[in-house]
């Protein structure tokens, strides 16, 4: 194993203490709606400037990995993703909590996050330089197809009516176009409002679209907001581990997806978890259970989003290209510490880089006891808290979170208005998830399409650019399989049933 001697350095009491504190701080920040992993890392970066580089990196890695996992708490317990990476966690996590399995959902999220984090860190340790080249082979066209792949998930998220979900997706896409166009500079759909020139902030929109409707429903009736499971006194760790073993292929597949998507600059945990969820649903024996509290959905999203942590560090450390937004903040901190990133980093400053990678392993493992403890406490507190206190407390957190994203009161107003809009849409039978998908993936799809079109036209054939590149073809095949597989299996399933009856 490369740089094994540095493992001892990472196991020093100081490093362990820093990793523990970083994981705890990350989990607590990530658990609050609106406070993202990027913000957790950015806010706590100055505290690391006085530390030696290896330990500082361990602290930042621990905060990052803790925050990504922490996002699952509010996603499961409040149906509000704490970070964008945990959007897909709401799909099955919240229904589990509603039916009284919130404690099991939190344990599963913790186990999956730890496994995904370890897979990502293992890829970083063993395969960083060769995998970094993957990041360079992804051009605008590949990003376009990747976004389209994510958008196909709308079909599987449809609750009741597929057409309504597709209309929701279109609304999300239109919302993503508000502001100055990335290519061409057109000012679109701002209604002459200066506040909308920068577009709609995704984190504020997420809080509004998911959390405000939940809040409005919380105050509508005196019924309890969450059921208490019969086995709340335990962590349900044994049950969780059995479920993880049963879903081991799903967790491994999702972790690899998370690592690979994490390597791609700008993609991040939200896309990774959506793709992993889509794949888990596609290969599931009972895909119709997804979205109703299916543990496999939760395991897929949580293992993949934590795997992006290690994956994102690969291009950051090897190429100096941040894989995810928190990586960009960590890259800045590395430069302040005098660390020169690039392929030479693994040779010239191997002490720092390997201490950091082993530190990331340790932080991820520490997430297990810390996450289980915090999770149990969070679940019991949330179930026990009177509804009258819960609603204004969550309302305060949404206001604070959406303001703290960019220190901008306009984004708080956007959040509230989008929340009201989501509630009206929900009362008409339109789910928020397709709108969110369109909003997140719209700018990636449009940017990739326009840039790909320009590059293709300059080369002489836009069609060849979109349909002739090997990675694009691979993603297109996945899109087609994802769309056609359920139809074909249903068709062949029916035929088989007819034969059986005959």
């Amino acid at each position: 194993m490369p740089g094994f001697e540095y493992l001892l350095h990472a196991l020093s009491p100081m490093s362990l203490l820093i990793a523990f504190a970083g994981v705890l701080a990350g989990i607590l920040i990530g658990a609050m709606p609106g406070l993202t992993a990027t913000m957790a890392v950015a806010v706590l970066v100055p505290f690391t400037f006085g530390m030696e580089p290896g330990v500082a990196l361990i602290a930042l890695g621990a905060i990052y990995t803790g925050a990504i996992y922490g996002g699952a708490y509010s996603a499961i317990l409040l149906k509000t993703p704490g970070t964008p990476s945990s959007i897909a966690t709401t799909f099955d996590g919240y229904p589990m909590a509603k039916r009284g399995d919130g404690d099991l959902a939190l344990t599963l999220a913790c186990l999956a996050s730890v496994f995904g984090g370890l897979v990502g860190a293992a890829f970083l340790l063993l395969l960083a330089p060769p995998l970094a080249s993957v990041a360079l082979s992804f051009g605008p066209v590949e990003y376009f197809w990747l976004a389209i792949f994510g958008l196909t998930l709308i079909a599987s998220l449809s609750e009741g009516s597929l057409i309504k979900s597709l209309i929701g997706g279109c609304i999300g896409l239109l919302l993503s176009m508000i502001g100055v166009a990335e290519v061409g500079g057109d000012v679109r759909f701002t209604g002459d409002s200066q506040a909308l020139l920068g577009g709609i902030d995704i984190v504020s929109a997420l809080i509004g679209l998911y959390c405000v409707p939940v809040l409005l429903e919380l105050v509508a009736s005196p019924d309890p907001h969450m059921r208490l499971g019969s086995r709340v006194s335990s962590y349900r760790l044994g049950e969780g581990m059995r479920q993880c073993w049963k879903s081991r292929f799903n967790i491994i597949r999702s972790s690899v997806i998370g690592t690979v998507v994490g390597i791609l600059p700008g993609a991040g945990g939200s896309i990774a978890s959506l793709i992993a969820y889509s794949e888990a649903r596609r290969v599931a024996k009972q895909p119709e259970k997804f979205g109703t509290g299916e543990p496999d959905g939760l395991l897929a999203t949580e293992s993949s989003n934590n795997a992006t942590v290690g994956g994102g560090f690969i291009p950051t450390l090897v190429l100096g290209i941040p894989g995810t937004p928190p990586d960009a903040v960590i890259l800045g901190a590395l430069l302040v510490q005098g660390v020169r990133v690039g392929p030479q980093l693994f040779g010239e400053q191997s002490e720092i880089v390997y201490t950091f990678i082993y530190g990331l392993f340790i932080a991820t493992v520490l997430m297990l006891p810390v996450g289980l403890l915090v999770g149990r406490y969070a679940f019991k507190s949330l179930v026990g808290i009177p509804k009258a206190l819960l609603a204004p407390s969550v309302a305060f957190l949404t206001i604070l979170g959406s303001y703290a994203v960019h220190n901008n009161a306009h984004e708080v107003l956007q959040m509230v208005l989008l929340g009201g809009f989501a509630w009206v849409m929900a009362s008409w039978g339109f789910s928020a998830s397709p709108i969110v998908l369109g909003l997140i993936l719209g700018s990636i799809a449009e940017g990739g399409f326009v840039q790909g079109y320009l590059i293709g036209s300059a080369k002489g054939s836009a069609l060849a650019e979109f349909f002739g590149r090997p990675i694009s073809i691979g993603i297109i095949v996945f899109i087609l399989v994802g769309l056609l597989y359920p139809v074909l299996t249903r068709r062949f399933g029916k035929k088989e049933m007819k034969h059986e009856y005959a």
């Binding site: 009516s161 279109c170 959040m415 509230v416 079109y453």
Partner: protein, 154 residues
């Protein structure tokens, strides 16, 4: 959402679809002012939305489905909380973060509580809520240096 699905015509779904069609038409009109590349995506999405909206209107009016939803619970409380959130967002900068949040929190408490208020409950709820608001305000303002708006009060 506390809802009941009913096997009736989804009139509100059809209304939403008509609004979606109208938005699509408006987007198509607005896209005429954009340059070619800037208009490709808005046009494509608008056309798709118009087609999907038209399909749903036809489907919703042709036969009863399972997509109609009926809300349960107090609409007045929902509306009141939404107004509080709106006021909270609008008054953050003029009044100040802490003051607005304390007022918003107390109003939220009043809306969300279904039990009879007793002096003990009032003290506990207000004490716990205000401690949380002030605690997080101090943490963000002074420890994390987030510039929360001071306004004319605090």
């Amino acid at each position: 959402m506390s809802t009941h699905e009913m096997k009736v015509r989804d009139v509100w779904g059809a209304v939403a679809s008509v609004i979606a069609i109208a938005i699509g038409v408006m987007v198509l009109r607005a896209a005429r002012d954009f340059d070619t590349l800037g208009a490709v995506f808005p046009r494509s999405v608008a056309v798709l939305m118009i087609v999907l909206g038209a399909c749903y209107v036809v489907l919703a009016l042709r036969k009863p489905g399972m997509n109609a939803v009926r809300l349960e619970g107090s609409g007045l409380r929902r509306l009141a909380l939404f107004c509080v959130l709106l006021g909270w967002a609008l008054l953050l900068e003029p009044l100040g973060f802490l003051t607005t949040s304390l007022i918003g929190y107390v109003l939220g408490l009043l809306i969300a509580n279904f039990d009879r208020w007793t002096p003990r409950m009032t003290m506990i709820y207000c004490g716990a809520g205000c401690s949380m608001v002030v605690g997080l305000f101090l943490l963000f303002r002074f420890a994390l240096h987030v510039p929360l708006p001071p306004g004319i009060l605090i």
